[in-house]
Symmetry: D2
Subunit: 333 residues, 4 copies
Amino acid sequence: MLIVMRASATEEQTSAVKEYVTSRGFTIDVIETDERTMIGVLQDVTPLRGLPIDSLSGVERVVSITHPFKLASRDFRPVDTVVKSAGLAIGGHGIALIGHVTSIPQDHAYLASVGSALKRLGFSALRVDWDDCMYGGLSDFERRSLTNVREKTGLPILAEVISSEQVELVEAYAAVLLVGAQSMYGSALISRVGQSRKPVVLERGLSATIEEWLLAANSIIAEGNLNVILCEHGIRAFETREILDVNAVPALKQLSHLPVVVDCGQAAPNKQSACGIAKAGIAAGADGLVVDVYDASRTTQQRQQQLSIDDLRELVPVLGKLAAAMGRKLSPI
Amino acid sequence: MLIVMRASATEEQTSAVKEYVTSRGFTIDVIETDERTMIGVLQDVTPLRGLPIDSLSGVERVVSITHPFKLASRDFRPVDTVVKSAGLAIGGHGIALIGHVTSIPQDHAYLASVGSALKRLGFSALRVDWDDCMYGGLSDFERRSLTNVREKTGLPILAEVISSEQVELVEAYAAVLLVGAQSMYGSALISRVGQSRKPVVLERGLSATIEEWLLAANSIIAEGNLNVILCEHGIRAFETREILDVNAVPALKQLSHLPVVVDCGQAAPNKQSACGIAKAGIAAGADGLVVDVYDASRTTQQRQQQLSIDDLRELVPVLGKLAAAMGRKLSPI
Amino acid sequence: MLIVMRASATEEQTSAVKEYVTSRGFTIDVIETDERTMIGVLQDVTPLRGLPIDSLSGVERVVSITHPFKLASRDFRPVDTVVKSAGLAIGGHGIALIGHVTSIPQDHAYLASVGSALKRLGFSALRVDWDDCMYGGLSDFERRSLTNVREKTGLPILAEVISSEQVELVEAYAAVLLVGAQSMYGSALISRVGQSRKPVVLERGLSATIEEWLLAANSIIAEGNLNVILCEHGIRAFETREILDVNAVPALKQLSHLPVVVDCGQAAPNKQSACGIAKAGIAAGADGLVVDVYDASRTTQQRQQQLSIDDLRELVPVLGKLAAAMGRKLSPI
Amino acid sequence: MLIVMRASATEEQTSAVKEYVTSRGFTIDVIETDERTMIGVLQDVTPLRGLPIDSLSGVERVVSITHPFKLASRDFRPVDTVVKSAGLAIGGHGIALIGHVTSIPQDHAYLASVGSALKRLGFSALRVDWDDCMYGGLSDFERRSLTNVREKTGLPILAEVISSEQVELVEAYAAVLLVGAQSMYGSALISRVGQSRKPVVLERGLSATIEEWLLAANSIIAEGNLNVILCEHGIRAFETREILDVNAVPALKQLSHLPVVVDCGQAAPNKQSACGIAKAGIAAGADGLVVDVYDASRTTQQRQQQLSIDDLRELVPVLGKLAAAMGRKLSPI
């Protein structure tokens, strides 16, 4: 349900409408355009039906959203959503670069070293995959690595959650939660991250249609969390690696108000492909990129698609030029 | 087989080696780098084995190519192939825009009108699909349309061939032949276009792996026609439309010396997607784009992904900026 | 177009209607049911429209077929088509076993030896793949092998055609032509086999939908050849081998009147899978099986999915029991 | 780890080895063959390495399993696993028929009525999908329906679990838990059902390879629950419905000791296809079938692939004959 206020509505009238809805237990999304205010209601609105919302002062009309993935649709929110958290903004004019660090060597300074290099290159966040903290919480090593990188760089951390029990644990150290491709259909986890106050990166399931993906996003929003970022990272077809569906970016931009990022690693057999996908992602209109990185001075390459800091020194300027060609820029450092 | 001449080889030595090979019935590809000359032998080289080619004057070494798609591989030809024909060049510094015209209305001036508009926008070729000339040759209307567009624009024509019998017919009016996705596995047609002196655009089969595609390209070259252009236009997966495999572009650039173009229509459900794919294609490194076009002042849109001349007026400048960001430029008008 | 005669129509009336249609250059399919005769017109019937066929004596009504793959559809031919040729019958009560022989060793007696063994096991045809006769006709060795097997067994031969030029050559020795998966979209070849008087096995393209497959079958029939056998042999998905779409059998039986066979080799990684697919094929309702075979006493296994004569001695009795469970039987020896 | 006892080992020796392992906190799988006893250790055996198990009396040798999905592999358990629960046995000589009931009308007697009819037809279990009990437990209506069907038929109930929190709730009324295709990659749920004492039907993920599927089964067994039943029900390819991978049945039978059932609904567009898949499943070697059913006298068909009791009266005898042809029989009533 979308409540469209009159252009002439006063602040008091708008506040009264907000209060009317929130006091009944609903979460709202307030959309301010140049002209008017709109109030979206995130949850199932059946209990609101029959109430005289359209006759409250200042209300122009009440729009009922019939799209199957309604809360994720452009019909529900005509303006682009910008997800903000801990200094990170995804979805606006800037394009966010996110470094993805895996197979972290037993070196307390590693994460801080990679993080500093990435920050200098203009990256705005760090996705960290620990090999073993899935259930038991962070080890001393992991805790210290995170403290180090935070102190040195201040970069917000993205981390994957694979079960609802684990969400609280990960919220303690991550600014952004990530639901991986293999969990996209997992309704318990989807509900749980919907109740979180942290933004959620939602990867597309390996064989999920765009509609199924937006339905999962809708379920997160319906729990009250509008801060969903869609991440295209490849679908299963007949080749040995996943195929990056580059058309998902313009397709989502038409169907949904949510920001879209492209993961450059999953579908890339090697560095050249990772770079090609990164460039194509920006040109297709993505709001951010997730790039597999490693620091060649401190560890060896673990996966073919990982880019070294030196590789990034070559790539990022080209990405900057492509962003400019698209009338955008890489997010500020 | 690749015969690498010494850097110090004289022109006479090189000519003698060429003569040695061609006089035995083989077609050669002469590759001149800054430093030296290399002579590739296109056909099956079994009859050459045992001959003392490596002891001819000026020969440094003879490299036998073991790659399954050898003649299409980078091993065979270390430099990028630039396909040239009738003023068109695909594969060098420039990026070629090719307009694809279908469902041509009964209007003798239509093709010339679209062609003139495209030429002004910097397009370098026109792909024309007649609905009914598959077997019987061109109708008067088609002939006149072609004459008109040729006189007004001089743009080279690309046309599809779907059977070996039809090749001669199409060669009479097209500067470039096109083997469509559904014919990629058709060995008779592949052999036949290999014997043509016209360049060949080879679309990827709907479920062809990159290796199978390069094997088909190899078969064309093995007949003596090195002027092959690979066209990625989407593969079959679980979504209703084909999925453009954007990674095919950097993947092919690593594996092959052949130019690569991206078809922006097959995988695009609508205009926005066609534009997104066009931009992504350039950023991924494509040497050209095929874009479905129509002239809104003379006919109605027949397919959702067709762009009008007005749409192109908005799109082409962005493509130009993206090309510049990639250190390239759109092919000159 | 389907012309339904009255139940009371006389033979003379029926003959007159047939003559009326064929004298105008059309090929007809005469369907005799217990009750009445129906006359199907195979080609594009536009020139017949407007003619007073429905007022000819004995005609009850004229049904226009609107299905996209009309001539291949059940609407066009309500009874099952039985394809008969050289003693082979596919599509009736019996289930035909077809042995597929590849990589034939240089042994004149090999084919006759395999053929004899297969004939004793109840097979009704032999598919022979020569490695090198694609264009140049049969070698002496191939000719002698065929003579031997024909003399010893009388089994009809199936052979693949990959180009329209090759059809005449193959017709000279094969009772049944086969259009392989990679040629299914090849319209020149499809037209050409439609003009043949030999039956055609039409394999499904690797990524062809069932509708596209029936459209190709329709094109063969539209040229006048109703003797089309559909062969499901696996589609491309994300596993390394093709996936046999077993549901294609009941799906085709509902949509089409044409017989359906299952190729047990393409989607089978090994013998156990080939046997499993063979059994499943019969239970799903297939009218025949194509099985990769070799004679272990005269050559070694070339592909994992090939069954030896000994393997078949175990398998065929189980297939016979499954056929009986389905109310059918393996075709008579 | 698999501990193979000597053929001559005494019961005391075997008991001592079992005690040695279980007293260290491990779960074991005791495999009795005609000849000897083998003791499989289900969990990660790192803590057992270095212990002198191979020198305990009666031990012939200790086999370390290196297969990636080791506990699910034939190497680990050379004999077929038969999963038994509440009178149900899946994996032995019999073939189990499981009715799948969805969209249950508001009729307390519905489930009992369907269950009685199915029991008379020889079905051995009932899969029940409630629309709304996912999180909150059973409603009064659901509870009463279950009591009714249990009293009238005694059929064991299968029910889906979609989150680890929900497992305890479902265990209270279901004899067998089911992990659906969309949850196959969900590691929290997989672990949790591994800790259950109820058998688990594990559906294949929509784009899961056979290896990934067996890895998920391995994870369940590694938690101590060997009673895993694999359910093939279709994979995503380019057709609108899923494609049943019939070859998965023989492929799994070679790779794994676990029983395999085929779901006849997911990949079937209608009744004829559901019947075709059911028959093919038995012929391919499946140990059971899951069939969508409804009672036409009490409700209307909700999905095209649902079979009525009358449809089953025709189908089941054919399934019985096919089972006999395979040397098996439908599980006893």
